[in-house]
C-alpha cells in the first residue's frame, strides 16, 4: 500500500526539540528572571561583602588587602563589644513579644459584639512603619512634653529621661519595638486558636483540665506552627533592628544603644568616614550570627518537607 508510507512518521521524531523536552526546560525558563535578579542583588553581594571585609577601603580609592586585620581590630573595639551585648539584649527581650502576643490573643479570643474591630485595632501598630513607631515613642518618652512622665507624675514618681540614660535607653527602644512585634504575634496566635480542635478541649474539660493546665497541655502544643513562625519573625526582627535606633537615639547616649546593624552603618557610611572594609567585617559577624538561626529554620522546613 503506497498510502501507508505517506502517513505521519512516529510523533517523536516530528515534534520539535523543545516539545520533546518541554517538561524539563519549562521550570528553568520560569525560574530564570527570579534567579537572575536574586543572584545579582542578594547572593553575589554576600560573597562580595565577605571579600571586602579583608580589605581596607574608603569606597572611592584603591582597596588595600589587609588580611584578617579588620577582624583583629574588632576584638578590642569597645563599641563593637557594646553593640554585641546590645544585640543579645534585643534577642532576649524581643522574645517577650511571643508570650505577650499569646496573652492578648487569649484575651481577645471571644465572640462579643465589636470584637473584630478590637482585634484589628490591637493589630494596627504592626502596620505602622518603624520610623513612625520610633517617633511616636520618642515623643512618648520626652522628659517634659512626653506622656510617660505625665503619667509617672500622677503617681508621684520623678521624671525619667528614658532615652537620655545610657543604662535605660536600649530597653526603652526595645519596648518600642515590642509594641508592633507583639501585635504580629497576637495575630498569629489568634489564627492558631481558631484552628484548635474543639473536641480535644471538650475531652480536656471532662478530665477536669482547667485554666493553666488546659493551656499548657492542650492548647499550646496545638499552637506549635504559630509559635514557630512567631519565633522566626521575632528573631529576624531583633537582629534587624536598625530603624528604631537610628530614629530614637542615633546610637547614643555615648554610643550605648548601638547594635551591630547600626554600628556597621555608622562605620561604613557616616560622617565619621567611610570604612567599607571594617563595616563589611561587622556585617559578616552579624551574618554569621544570623546563619545559625537560618540553618535551624531551613532544617525545620526540610523536616516538614520530608514528612509530606
Amino acid at each position: 500500500m503506497t498510502t501507508a508510507q505517506s502517513t505521519p512518521a512516529p510523533a517523536a521524531s516530528e515534534r520539535s526539540w523543545y516539545k520533546r523536552n518541554e517538561i524539563a526546560i519549562t521550570p528553568w525558563l520560569f525560574l530564570a528572571p527570579a534567579i537572575l535578579f536574586f543572584a545579582f542583588y542578594v547572593i553575589w553581594p554576600i560573597y562580595q561583602s565577605i571579600s571586602i571585609s579583608f580589605y581596607a577601603w574608603d569606597g572611592l580609592g584603591e582597596a588595600r588587602y589587609v588580611g584578617m586585620a579588620n577582624y583583629v581590630e574588632l576584638m578590642d573595639d569597645g563599641a563593637f563589644e557594646v553593640s554585641l551585648w546590645n544585640n543579645l539584649k534585643w534577642l532576649l527581650f524581643y522574645l517577650l513579644a511571643i508570650p505577650g502576643g499569646l496573652f492578648i490573643a487569649l484575651f481577645l479570643n471571644q465572640t462579643v459584639t465589636g470584637i473584630r474591630i478590637y482585634k484589628s485595632l490591637f493589630f494596627f501598630p504592626f502596620v505602622l512603619s518603624q520610623v513612625v513607631v520610633g517617633l511616636v515613642f520618642s515623643w512618648f518618652y520626652l522628659p517634659n512634653e512626653g506622656l510617660l512622665n505625665g503619667i509617672l507624675a500622677l503617681v508621684g514618681l520623678g521624671p525619667v529621661n528614658v532615652l537620655g540614660d545610657p543604662t535605660w535607653a536600649t530597653y526603652g527602644i526595645i519596648a518600642a519595638g515590642l509594641w508592633p512585634q507583639t501585635a504580629y504575634c497576637m495575630i498569629l496566635y489568634l489564627t492558631g486558636l481558631n484552628a484548635v480542635d474543639p473536641e480535644q478541649i471538650e475531652a480536656g474539660r471532662l478530665d477536669n483540665a482547667k485554666g493553666w493546665k488546659m493551656l499548657w497541655y492542650i492548647i499550646i502544643p496545638q499552637l506549635k506552627p504559630a509559635t514557630f513562625i512567631a519565633f522566626v519573625v521575632t528573631i529576624i526582627g531583633a537582629l534587624r533592628s536598625f530603624d528604631l535606633i537610628s530614629i530614637m537615639t542615633n546610637g547614643g547616649p555615648f554610643g550605648q544603644t548601638r547594635v551591630l546593624s547600626f554600628y556597621m552603618f555608622e562605620k561604613a557610611l557616616s560622617e565619621y568616614g567611610f570604612r567599607m572594609g571594617y563595616g563589611a567585617a561587622i556585617a559578616v559577624v552579624l551574618f554569621l550570627i544570623m546563619l545559625v538561626f537560618i540553618a535551624y529554620f531551613l532544617w525545620s522546613m526540610w523536616k516538614e518537607e520530608q514528612v509530606r
Partner: protein
C-alpha cells in the same frame, strides 16, 4: 473554644470583660493617641506647657494644611508611591513564575533553589549594603527611584517565592495532570489554569509587599538622598528638621506618612491577615 466563651461565664465576669476591653485598647494605643492629640493642637499649647490637656483650640485643618501645602511632604509621598507600586508588580510577577516552577515541577535541584530564596530572604541587610550601594552607583542609579525599585524587587522575590511556592503546592495537582493529558502547553497551563487559582495569593502578597516597601527606611537611606527621590520614611527626618520642636506639625506629618499602609490594611484586612498567617495553622 479556649478560653471559655464569655457567654458561659457568670454575669459579673461578663460585665468586667466588657468594660476591660475598651480600657485595654486605650492603654495599648496610648502613645498613638497622644500623637493624634498633639497633631490637632495649636503651637501655643506647647509653649504654655499644656502638653496633655485638651487642645485650647482645634487646629487640625491648619496643621495638616501646613503639612500638605507648606512642606516637601506631598513630594515624598508621591515618591513612595512611585517606588512601592512598581516593586509590588515586579516582585509578584517574578515570584508567580518562580513559585510555579518550584511548586509544580520535580527536578533535582528544586529544593536547593527554594532554600536559596528562603535563606536569602532572612539575610541581614547590612551584608548586602556595601556591594549593593556600589552596584547602584556603578549603574548610575544612585539616588534614583529605579535603583531602589530594582533592589526591592530582587530582595522581595525571596519572600514572595516562598509564599507562592507553598501556595501552589497546596493546589490540587490532578488539575495540572488533566491539562497535560489534554496536550496543553506548559505556559498555557500556567496562564489559564494556575494563575486564576492564585488570585487570593496575589492579593495577599500585594498588600503585604506594599506595606513592607512603603515602610522601608534602611534602603531609602542607603540608596537615595534629597527630596527628588527619597520616599516618605526617609523624608520625614528632614521634615522634622525643618519643623524642629514644632510637635504639632511633626505629629501631623508622621500621621500623614503612616496613613497609606493603614488605609490599605483596613480596606484589605482579610487578604492582609491571610498573607501574614499563611502557615500559622496546618
Amino acid at each position: 473554644m479556649f478560653p471559655t466563651p464569655i457567654e458561659k461565664t457568670p454575669r459579673s465576669w461578663q460585665l468586667t470583660y466588657q468594660s476591660m476591653l475598651p480600657l485595654a485598647l486605650i492603654m495599648w494605643l496610648l502613645p498613638l493617641i497622644a500623637v493624634a492629640v498633639f497633631s490637632i493642637k495649636p503651637a501655643e499649647d506647647f509653649t504654655q506647657g499644656n502638653y496633655w490637656g485638651l487642645p485650647s483650640s482645634f487646629e487640625m485643618f491648619n496643621n495638616y494644611g501646613q503639612v500638605f501645602f507648606n512642606s516637601d511632604m506631598p513630594r515624598y509621598m508621591f515618591n513612595s508611591v512611585l517606588i512601592t507600586v512598581p516593586t509590588v508588580i515586579g516582585a509578584v510577577a517574578l515570584s508567580c513564575l518562580a513559585g510555579f516552577a518550584l511548586g509544580i515541577y520535580k527536578f533535582k535541584s528544586n529544593i536547593w533553589i527554594f532554600f536559596m530564596f528562603v535563606a536569602g530572604n532572612f539575610v541581614p541587610f547590612q551584608i548586602l549594603m556595601v556591594p549593593v550601594r556600589d552596584l547602584t552607583l556603578d549603574m548610575g542609579l544612585y539616588n534614583t527611584k529605579t535603583g531602589l525599585v530594582l533592589f526591592h524587587v530582587a530582595f522581595q522575590t525571596g519572600f514572595c517565592t516562598l509564599f507562592m511556592r507553598n501556595f501552589i503546592r497546596a493546589l490540587p495537582y490532578e488539575l495540572i495532570e488533566a491539562a497535560r493529558v489534554e496536550g496543553i502547553a506548559e505556559w498555557k497551563i500556567f496562564w489559564y489554569v494556575v494563575i486564576p487559582l492564585m488570585k487570593p495569593a496575589i492579593a495577599a502578597l500585594s498588600v503585604l509587599i506594599f506595606t513592607f516597601i512603603w515602610n522601608d527606611y534602611f534602603w531609602a537611606v542607603v540608596l537615595t538622598q534629597g527630596p527628588e527621590s527619597q520616599p516618605v520614611t526617609a523624608g520625614i527626618t528632614s521634615f522634622n528638621a525643618q519643623f524642629r520642636a514644632a510637635y504639632h506639625l511633626m505629629s501631623a506629618g508622621s500621621i500623614v506618612a503612616a496613613l497609606p499602609p493603614v488605609l490599605m490594611f483596613f480596606l484589605m484586612q482579610k487578604h492582609f491577615i491571610a498573607g501574614l498567617t499563611l502557615g500559622a495553622v496546618k
